[in-house]
Symmetry: C2
Subunit: 226 residues, 2 copies
């Protein structure tokens, strides 16, 4: 699973191994490896500086690859970015869905499922902080070429949360009066911002600390609970 990367002492910001056309055949693993390196280089640079401020030369240099290679592997700078987005959000939604299904299999209720998804979200952000940062920075922008990609990808992620809320209402666990989509957004925001603040400003805290704080908030154990 972990990619075979050259010996940079950098923090692993891997966006996971890509399995696509070359799964069964022992075929072009080389190409996948360079694409992976480019993803890793691009994700941190763009998270730090933004898309426009990051040059293709920088990405190539950090990936340890010539500029031409970038264009051999991706049609353009924004295509590279779009594929990075799609790939990263794919990992996130898979992880969220897995968390929800796991609690269901273990006989947990829907609050447990939400709680497990919060943890899965935190684990994801803990592992891929740069990706998360970049995602948040681009999500609400308009007028950009990858806008449609972003919309699709956002909907995938939010839908997982919405599904759990819907099931919870159907099962009588949540009030019928909750607004599914607004509540889902709010929950996502809660996790996203708390986690980014955690990573940026108090990195010394443990994941369990953050999870505990968010759980408390979710279960209304902060504000009295009438």
């Amino acid at each position: 699973m972990s990619p075979t990367v050259a010996s940079t002492g950098r923090v692993p910001v891997t966006i996971g191994a890509m399995e696509s056309s070359s799964a069964a055949s022992g075929g072009s693993t080389r190409r996948e490896a360079t694409r992976q390196k480019l993803y890793e280089a691009a994700v941190t640079l763009i998270a730090e500086q933004g898309f426009s401020a990051t040059t293709v030369d920088e990405i190539a240099e950090r990936a340890g690859v010539a500029k031409g290679t970038v264009y051999y592997n991706f049609a353009s700078k924004s295509v590279l970015f779009e594929e990075l987005l799609r790939h990263g959000v794919g990992l996130l939604t898979a992880s969220l869905r897995e968390a929800a299904e796991r609690t269901a299999a273990e006989g947990g209720n829907k609050v447990d499922a939400l709680d497990a998804m919060i943890r899965a979200g935190l684990v994801f952000i803990d592992r891929y902080p740069a990706f998360t940062q970049l995602y948040v920075a681009e999500l609400w922008r308009t007028n950009r070429t990858w806008q449609s990609t972003l919309m699709v990808v956002r909907q995938q992620a939010v839908a997982v949360v919405e599904d759990v809320l819907r099931d919870g209402v159907a099962a009588g666990e949540f009030s019928e009066e909750i607004d599914i989509s607004l509540t889902a957004s709010a929950l996502v925001g809660m996790v996203l911002v708390a986690a980014l603040d955690w990573k940026s400003f108090q990195a010394e805290r443990s994941l369990d600390d953050v999870h505990a704080a968010l759980s408390r908030l979710l279960q209304g154990r902060v504000s009295g609970c009438r």
Copy 2:
């Protein structure tokens, strides 16, 4: 309060009137007016495209001003941006603090104060969506010239929420076990993301709808409340 803007049919994205050195003296209002126009132009363009992708020529053009005027009024493109940030967050914190103080004066408890601040946050985002968007996009970035400005400004805003939480714990209204800073971050995130999603993807909803959904979440009336 509402600025005297030229006759563009554009949505008012004003960042409020600036009172600084020219408060008492009836002095150079003219200069302030062009600065205001530049803020308005810059905030929407940067929100849409990002800082680096926005050119000074564009800003000048949208403000209906010559390029030279931009540099007559601001030392550089990033100085313009920094002052925009400081100014906008100043408005936000003032509004949050005012909401908290108003409920206190009316004899409300701390949950009421939080609720009022949620509403104040929503009202702010409703009025200045572009500013909010731009703020979120930049907040967690590192390695940029205005990083320190951003940190200061963030701390101001979060501190208002933290103060209310601290008071609530002291008054025995909130559990002693809550983590002040993490909870504050989470609450801010809840409002921020829900509101941005509202403005971006379901602009037809009313502010009251959004407020109601967030209130419910705050008071734990979503997840059973045991």
